[in-house]
């Protein structure tokens, strides 16, 4: 079922190795075609052609500056103001990289969580509820319900249920990050983009966060940028390896870590990089 698109001459390792993920249970939700990202004249990302399968976790790995974050942020057009994104981003059959796409509506379906927890200077409750209110959900019981489910899904409910009206700024790093996840899933997105969500967290919080993500997978399609290769190995089904603004290898996570096809990938995952 994997359609390999290796570009290589027999006997040597291929220069690129990209597979097609997904199956009947996990159809493709999001894919990029011929994606190029420019910062000014500088091309930060080229040939970023990837497909993402539903209810799976895909990890994007690679060295700093390899373009993985740029790629991720382009997916829900968070880079619109600072970069030029060319190519197509197909979301369930619709190219969302068209100028007349309503980015706000689109971002409600493709949510994002950032590297550093960024809870708003509001109460825990309002952090989650206020975006819903702006979208017309004002009934108190409905809001309460969504807040609770989101917090439960983010595995934060038990810790904060008694202090929902406390300022979110008082939360610890791990809690704050989970609040950000709860906030993102409260608007019921389809795809969840995570940009190194654990890099600012301690090991315990990190592992809690990973558990949470594994549970969230049932409901969402998750794409996560990570520096931490063990993390990628622990939670993701697929892994894409970025190098110098290109995707060099995309395969199942186990393949990438046990049997990488491209030399650079092999060097990177084995720690011989650079």
């Amino acid at each position: 079922m994997f359609m390999s698109s290796d570009i290589a001459t027999p006997g040597t390792t291929p220069e690129r190795h990209i597979v097609q993920p997904g199956d009947a249970q996990h159809p493709i939700v999001l894919s990029t075609e011929d994606l190029h990202v420019f910062y000014g004249d500088k091309e930060a990302l080229s040939e970023g052609d990837l497909k993402f399968a539903r209810n799976q976790i895909t990890a994007l790995i690679g060295a700093s500056g390899s373009g993985k974050s740029t790629f991720l942020r382009s997916l829900n057009r968070m880079n619109d103001r600072i970069a030029t994104v060319k190519g197509r981003i197909m979301y369930r059959g619709v190219d969302i990289n068209q100028p007349d796409i309503d980015v706000y509506e689109m971002r409600r379906r493709i949510g994002m969580v950032f590297q550093r927890p960024n809870p708003f200077a509001k109460s825990i409750y309002d952090n989650i509820a206020f975006a819903l209110r702006l979208r017309g959900i004002t009934a108190k019981n409905k809001l309460d319900e969504i807040v609770e489910t989101s917090l439960r899904q983010a595995a934060l409910w038990d810790q904060v249920k008694d202090e929902l009206d406390k300022s979110a700024l008082a939360l610890s790093g791990g809690q704050a990050q989970r609040l950000c996840i709860a906030r993102a899933i409260a608007v019921k997105p389809d795809v969840l983009l995570l940009d190194e969500p654990a890099s600012a967290l301690d090991p315990v919080s990190t592992s809690q966060l990973e558990d949470t993500l594994l549970k969230l997978k049932q409901h969402y399609t998750i794409i996560i940028v990570t520096h931490n290769m063990q993390q990628a190995a622990r939670i993701s089904e697929y892994t894409a390896f970025f190098n110098q603004g290109r995707v060099l290898e995309y395969d199942t996570t186990s393949q990438i870590f046990t049997n990488p096809q491209v030399q650079v990938t092999s060097d990177y995952v084995s720690g011989n990089f650079g």
Binding site: R92, D102, V103, E105, R135
Partner: protein
């Protein structure tokens, strides 16, 4: 979840409430900006048109204006030209601005360092409110305190009339102190905490950390604060006017009466007739002020750019 792509595309292309709000917000905030720009353009245009009239309608030589030392617009000199030499006032303005900045800088930065690095608690509780309070004291009041305290003091210490650049410097020093202090504090606050931690971890004392790390890192911000204070000082009118003596003479010493652009402008503007040479000449002074604040601004910007490059 089983929507056809067409259906989905339609949904995604429908303009959402957020998009509508966004347009509304852009329009509203842009109109506010346009309004301010209109105000700025109107005032600058107004000053420029009046100030340039001295040279266009009254045919004063620009160089005579900038280099002449005699300010007596109602009189004409030996050649039948009006005496509108602004040099003494330009020099006066510069002297008083630079001096007050020189005096205020160590105090302001010292206070900012104290507020930010040494005793943030006391800084926030005492210093900040006090400096903010000081900004609110009207310049008239500063002027009168200058008149009743500073001027007699300089007179008894340095002789002369007490009026002059020195007294003006003292008053301006206190007036720009709060501005420079609070801006310096902002600049220090912008230095990331790990700079300090890294330095302290290397065994540096607090002072070494402040001096070698924090102040260095904040230098562009601090310079901006000082230049901003200078711009303030340059444009201050009422308070300076009361203590500098308003004598349009080249300053011979710090305790002789002198004049600044603003003091002559404020003193004379009500006594001249709109459209006359005397009035236009005063507007030319305002134009010089405008250009000077442009220069100060460019300096601030240059410093800012340098800071970013570092």
């Amino acid at each position: 979840m089983t929507k056809s792509p067409e259906q989905l595309e339609q949904e995604l292309k429908r303009r959402s409430k957020a998009a509508k709000l966004e347009i509304w917000g852009r329009v509203v905030s842009f109109s506010a900006l346009i309004l301010i720009v209109a105000v700025v353009v109107a005032i600058i245009g107004f000053v420029a048109s009046k100030g340039l009239a001295t040279f266009t309608t009254n045919h004063v030589n620009l160089w005579d204006f900038l280099s002449g030392k005699n300010w007596n617009p109602s009189l004409t000199d030996a050649h039948g030209k009006p005496e509108v030499g602004a040099l003494s006032m330009i020099v006066g303005s510069f002297l008083i601005t630079v001096l007050s900045a020189i005096v205020a800088t160590p105090f302001a930065i010292g206070t900012a360092v104290f507020m930010n690095e040494i005793s943030p608690n006391r800084g926030a509780k005492i210093l900040q409110p006090v400096t903010e309070l000081l900004v609110g004291i009207p310049s008239v009041v500063y002027g009168f305190i200058g008149l009743s305290v500073v001027v007699p003091f300089t007179r008894s210490v340095f002789g002369g009339s007490g009026f002059g650049i020195l007294s003006g410097t003292c008053v301006l020093f206190v007036m720009i102190l709060p501005t420079v202090t609070s801006m310096s504090a902002d600049a220090l606050r912008a230095v990331p905490r790990y700079y300090r931690e890294a330095s302290l971890a290397l065994g540096a004392t607090q002072w070494q950390t402040i001096y070698k790390v924090v102040l260095r890192a904040a230098t562009p911000g601090l310079m901006t604060a000082v230049v901003f204070g200078m711009a303030r000082a340059f444009g201050e009118a009422l308070a300076v006017q009361m203590v500098i003596g308003n004598a349009a003479l080249m300053p011979q010493s710090l305790v002789d009466p002198a004049a600044t652009l603003t003091s002559v402008l404020t003193t004379g503007i009500g006594n001249t007739v709109m459209g006359s040479l005397q009035n236009n000449a005063l507007w030319s002074l305002a134009l010089v002020l405008l250009l000077m604040s442009l220069v100060f601004n460019l300096i601030i910007r240059l410093i800012g750019r340098k800071g970013r490059l570092q």
